[in-house]
Amino acid sequence: MTLPDNLSRRAMFVKLGILFNGIIAALLAIPILRYVLSSVTRARKVGYETWLPLGSLDQFPAGQTRLGTFCNPDVQPWDGKTAYSDCWVRRIDDRTFQVFAINCMHLGCPVRWFPQSGLFMCPCHGGVYYEDGARASGPPERGLFEYAYKIEDRKLYIKAGELPTPASPGGPAALIDISGKRPCA
């Protein structure tokens, strides 16, 4: 047996070995990637958005805007208080509501409702919204995010469970006003 033959045989085994490991690595990458991206591919049993109860209709008097609290659908025992979220519930009349996300559509800080002036104000960068969620002033580019709602057995339900961000498809509030201009009363 000559030396070069011997070397090339071993070199081939090295290459085969690398190829073998490459195939195994590619196979292992599939479950690893699926695991890492599970929150993106949403491979979970519970849906991200579900109808969630906000409580009895009587808690929300007509003509007023009040704070509602709901428990998110996809939570774990160790989430503690972060399992809960707030929202602003505006009852216009008996059957008509608007339920706004607490998050300012600028960068997500919690907006506060001032019934006296009929405005939502954000403490972070000074975003202001009208009582119907439309943008009034400040840096936000759109109105407050609105949850879909339904009424069953005199109880109010909203479809929620995902953090609303500026990329979330907007509700009616966003449709009413994007440019910041509002027909004057």
Binding site: L37, S39, V40, R42, Y48, E49, L67, T69, N72, D74, V75, Q76, P77, W78, D79, G80, K81, T82, A83, Y84, S85, D86, I102, N103, H106, L107, G108, C109, P110, R112, F114, Q116, S117, G118, L119, M121, C122, P123, C124, H125, G126, V128, Y130, E131, A136, S137, G138, P139, P140, E141, G161, E162, L163, T165, P166, A167, S168, R182, C184, A185
Partner: protein, 495 residues
């Protein structure tokens, strides 16, 4: 002594490290680099080691669970002997590390150390800076309090603006649909395993290159870097005027690192740990989230940019800045090193420093944020109410009740989101005041729906009184003409 040497020799016979170590610590460096300007890199390394030690100590007690993290910080602060001090050391150590890394970067930039052949050392340094900032942000998240909770929300809001990929990035960042336990767990993994692991690897690479390529010589005006001749010149310099790093230069590093650690120990003892602020309870909305010190400039920038500029600035700005930093050694890899011959470099540093300093200072008092409780907490100063009619005082009440004070200051009290109104009557006529209140505009909401006509009348009556004594309020000159008794019937010719 003989015994110690024998033990040492026994180990070295097996480890075979002594020769390499001696060669490393005694490698020759240019004489002038034994300077107080060359101590920041080693100081950053020492603070990093300090962070590892205090970090491990905190991990012994800390519970990375959204439900328990805040409580475990309270335990650290109040129940464990000197737990508060370890937290203070780690928190202040983080600030120290960011500061020293930035100073190191400025020194390297001004001394032209990024030029040939140290381009890759600079690029690895840029990644080290990014990782240091990543550690600072993820560390703020682990202090799982109200600021941390809403801070991640801001991170999610910024990420969501990425076109197409935005919502996916948000879910990847949060580890689920909302900020909850999964979010904290993944930031814990990042802060404790992923980024430190990468940092250690990149620091090793950074140091290896410093050793292999030699420390940057003291820049002399007129000593030009050329790729064809630089290496030869550097070796000649070291041969002619080199000293061994140990002990020739290292004593300054040791003294400076010691001073930094001493300052850190004193600052941590005096100021104590950071927070935690309120519980991370999303249902408590009476909160005014503020970022940590090193991200305050960003907080200011996001308030001051015109809204339509924000998304492009957020998405394109960092990419351009990063690309510029990465390409810097390729664009300016040769030529003058001395800052005395590089005025644009010096001006750039000054500009960046002034901009970041100004933004950070502004963020300290955040004039763009409404003062959420000014309407109920800050009274209107007396001088604006004395000798006023009942209607005007009613207007002052409406000014408070409708939260005008949250955005408009009177006598330095109240919000600064909108202009101070101490002299508003000098600037706007009564008609303009009514129009502004009802229709808003110029970044002010319209109050038309929420003010009755009598309320508007009272409010404007009050606003009309806001001018210095002895100065006439603004008036509409055409109005005066219109209200004059007509001396000439319309249509008739002047005499």
């Amino acid at each position: 002594m003989r015994l110690i040497r024998q033990i040492g020799e026994w180990f070295d016979e097996r480890l075979q490290l002594a020769a390499t170590l001696r060669e490393t610590v005694e490698h020759p460096v240019p004489r002038e680099t034994a300077s107080w300007f060359y101590v920041f890199g080693s100081a950053a390394l020492v603070v990093f080691v300090m962070q590892i030690i205090t970090g491990i100590m905190l991990a012994v007690i800390y519970v990375p669970s959204a439900g328990e993290a805040w409580n475990s910080l309270q335990t650290l602060n109040h129940s464990i002997a000197l737990g508060w001090y370890i937290r203070a050391l780690h928190g202040w150590g983080s600030n120290f590390m960011v500061a020293i890394v930035l100073i190191h970067m400025v020194q390297v930039f001004l001394f032209g150390a990024f030029k040939y052949p140290r381009e890759l050392t600079w690029i690895v340094g840029i990644f080290l800076l990014l990782m240091t900032l990543g550690m600072a942000f993820s560390g703020q998240v682990l202090r799982f309090d109200q600021d941390a909770f809403w801070g991640i929300g801001i991170g999610a809001s910024i990420s969501s603006r990425v076109p197409i990929m935005g919502p996916w990035i948000v879910n990847l960042l949060l580890g689920g649909p909302i900020i909850a336990g999964a979010t904290l767990s993944r930031f814990f993994a990042l802060h404790v395993f992923v980024i430190p692991g990468m940092l250690i690897g990149f620091i090793g690479l950074h140091l290896l290159m410093v050793l292999k390529l030699g420390i940057n010589e003291w820049p002399m005006p007129g000593r030009i870097v050329r790729k064809s001749t630089y290496l030869k010149e550097y070796h000649e310099l070291i041969k002619k005027d080199g000293i061994p790093f140990f002990p020739g230069a290292v004593y300054k590093d040791i003294f400076f690192a010691g001073c930094v650690l001493l300052t850190l120990a004193i600052v941590a003892a005096y100021f104590g740990p950071f927070g935690p602020s309120g519980r991370p309870d999303p249902t408590i909305i009476q909160t005014v989230p503020r970022p940590d010190y090193f991200f305050l400039w960003l907080y200011a920038l996001l308030s001051l940019l015109p809204p339509q500029m924000e998304t492009p600035a957020l998405l394109i700005g960092p990419v351009v800045a990063l690309l510029f930093l990465l390409l810097l050694p390729f664009l300016f890899g040769e030529g003058e090193k001395s800052w005395k011959r590089r005025p644009i470099a010096v001006l750039t540093i000054l500009l960046v420093a002034v901009v970041l300093g100004t933004f950070t200072d502004l963020a300290g008092h955040a004039p763009w944020s409404p003062v959420m409780d000014a309407w109920s907490g800050d009274p209107i100063p007396q001088q604006f109410l004395q000798k006023r009619s009942a209607l005007e005082r009613q207007g002052a009440l409406i000014f408070q009740l409708k939260q005008c004070h949250n955005c408009h200051a009177l006598g330095e009290e109240g919000g600064k989101r909108g202009p101070a109104l101490d002299n508003v009557a000098l600037l706007l006529t009564p008609d303009q005041l009514i129009r502004q209140v009802i229709q808003g505009g110029g970044n002010m909401p319209a109050y038309g729906k929420n003010l009755s006509p009598p309320e508007t009348t009272a409010l404007v009556a009050f606003l009309k009184t806001l001018h210095p004594a002895g100065q006439q309020p603004a008036r509409d000159a055409s109005r005066a003409v219109a209200e004059e008794p007509a001396t000439h019937p319309p249509g008739s010719k002047n005499p």
